[in-house]
Amino acid sequence: MRVLLFARARDLAGAEAIEVDLPANATVGDLRASLPKLCPRIAGLVERSAIAVNNEYAADTTLLPAAAEVALVPPVSGG
């Protein structure tokens, strides 16, 4: 599964996305837990970020659909 990165997360990771391998029936929380292992530099930011699934903020208990657009959404600062 590909996870889109933005803003400081993208700069810290040096990439626009991270590939994550997750078992079937994995949840958003499982994804959240796996990100710091794949990219330790964003660990602190992941804790404070939301996860979006198909352009919607998702709770950690949400099951990840098989084909979904997933993104790490750090605290926003638009306006």
Partner: protein, 137 residues
């Protein structure tokens, strides 16, 4: 209507476009790049969005605002890319029959925008450093 743009925001057009004969009140909010944040000097800001989700969330804000107030029309527009001090980063224009409706609706829309629309700004400080702004981190 909602828009993300890399061009300068034309507040005249926004304000004109929401005017309606049955609406006696128009409120337009402009967010502009300030030269100071606390005691630090900003030279410029770079704005980035998660575009599809940002547009979806802006549309939700438009619909939510229309459901709460008798909106004649509402436009939310956010600029992306490199902005200098004084540039307009965001504009919200709303028309309603009465003025308190228009004030409340406009403030609601910009408050929600700043709360959850996936857009981020990067400070370009006068000392040459840059820093993505992620409140609470």
């Amino acid at each position: 209507m909602v828009r993300l743009t890399r061009e300068a925001i034309d507040h005249t057009r926004l304000t004109e476009d929401v005017r309606r004969d049955h609406c006696g009140a128009v409120v337009t909010f402009l967010g502009t790049v300030r030269d100071l944040t606390g005691d630090r000097t900003t030279l410029a800001l770079d704005y980035e969005a998660y575009p599809d989700m940002a547009l979806k969330k802006l549309e939700e804000i438009e619909q939510d605002t229309r459901s709460r107030w008798p909106v004649g029309d509402i436009i939310l527009e956010h600029r992306l890319g490199h902005l200098d001090v004084g540039d307009i980063s965001v504009a919200v224009a709303v028309s309603c029959p009465h003025r308190h409706q228009a004030f409340d609706a406009c403030r609601h829309a910009i408050d929600r925008l700043k709360e959850f629309v996936p857009i981020w700004k990067k400070e370009n400080w006068a000392d040459g450093t840059t820093e993505w702004v992620h409140p609470g981190t």
